[in-house]
Amino acid sequence: MSTFIQVAVNGLGKGAVYALLALGFVIIFKASGVLNFAHGSLVLLGGYVAVRTENHLHFLGSAILGVTAAAVGALVIERVLVARRPLADPISLALLTIGVDVVMSEEIIRRLGIEIPFLGKPYDGKPVHIGSITLFRTQLIALGVGAVLVGAFFLAFRFTGWGVAMRAQAENREAAALMGIRSGRVTAIAWVIAGVLAGVAVLFLATQDFSGAGLSRSTHAVALVAFPAAIIGGLDSTGGAIVGGAIVGLTESMSAQYISYDFSKIAVFIVMLAVLIVAPAGLFGTRERTRV
């Protein structure tokens, strides 16, 4: 039983991190209609800046810088590239982000060289004991931070001017523009928020507790796991992203524990395929009614 609780909490903690990434995807998708393959690069960018500034500032300072870097990176991608082709079809835009991802990630990984630095020093590898249960501190803090950020996001989404504008734009771009909503600004803010979430996520991803690997190519690959999380929830559902993240996190830990570590990687994708076959637009995504 105690193993189960450990695995479940661990899974939820991981799920929180995946949820942050998935939420970022969904926000970008709602704002620009793009599946952002460059998200992994934003994760790497945030992590890289955090690592490089670690010796000069303490953890919090470098973390903030890393998050800022990821946010700026997202903004640059959106303003310089995506904004230029607003009418392109989704596949072309997705390929555009793939191109950006290739260049960015190769450059950052090259600069790291053979270093595989770990982030999250204040909490990594410092387990928490509650009775007979041992929990990863990283995952616990991720849960907490994730809850706060997600909560803040949903409040903003509901109650701020930006949130209303985003929802309007996602529903009907033209009408929103005609109503005076500045699409460029709304979209830019959306990408910045996604960048922030990615920058926070990396602080938990590149730890011993979470992935066993430091900042490296595998961090970029782990970020890919956020895709199924967003898809399971539905690419245009912010709430779905949270649910998707939780499902993915739990699937990963449970299957790693009860089946095998190798299987845990594909378990997530198998769950995604199963969900897609039953609900082609994700659990909470909007469906098309026409048949062919």
């Binding site: 009614r289 026409t290 048949r291 062919v292």
Partner: protein
Amino acid sequence: MGTALTADGLSIRFGGVKALDDVGFSVAEGAIHALIGPNGAGKSTCFNVLSGVYRADAGRVELLGSDVTGLRPHQLAGRGLGRSFQNLALSPHSSVLDNVMLARHCRTRGGFLAAGVRWPGMLREQARHRARAVEICTFIGIEPLLDIPVGGLSYGDGKRVDIARALATEPQVLLLDEPAAGMHAGETAQIAELIVAVRAALGLSVLLVEHDMNLVMGIADRITVLDFGRVIAEGTPAQVREDPEVIKAYLGEVSDE
């Protein structure tokens, strides 16, 4: 004269809205039948049910004597139902001829292997069908445009390509989705002439969904009027024009171009 297409008791609901409520009418063989109604009346929905895009919650559709309720679009095409599209739905980078030739797909055979090795039997069949496609295009009047990519054509020419493509499926019943949409009076008159000519030359039955009253009153043999998903009137153009229910439903929406 028999009926080419019959709708019987069609009902469909989207969420809380009943888009079609017990809609029924018949298109006589060889007739031009129009389906009209104010915005939101359910004309497009009805059209989509008849062409197999939506599945009605209740009711029957009969095509050329057989029950085709619930059949999918490509099955209906195989049974003699052709349709045009309001937004043209053409492949912009392909030539006009290429687009029209698509309609011959279900009448030709030959997959990847035959095409890849350029099997002579397949090439001969392609040539035969190409000739027929060119014939149809010439009749429609777009023969000079055959090799031009569709994306570069004017809207009016694109509409003709769409109709040529629908005709290339050799249908017996033709559904036209707002053929005069986006056209001015001169172009509308041309489309009207074309529909009448097509009906005369090929003996088709035509059902058109349309907003433009001039077109409808000009060429339709019979008209069915929808409002709020229900049939509120049916008859000849003269009858429908005088019908108080119809006048009430439209109240000022008659286009006077």
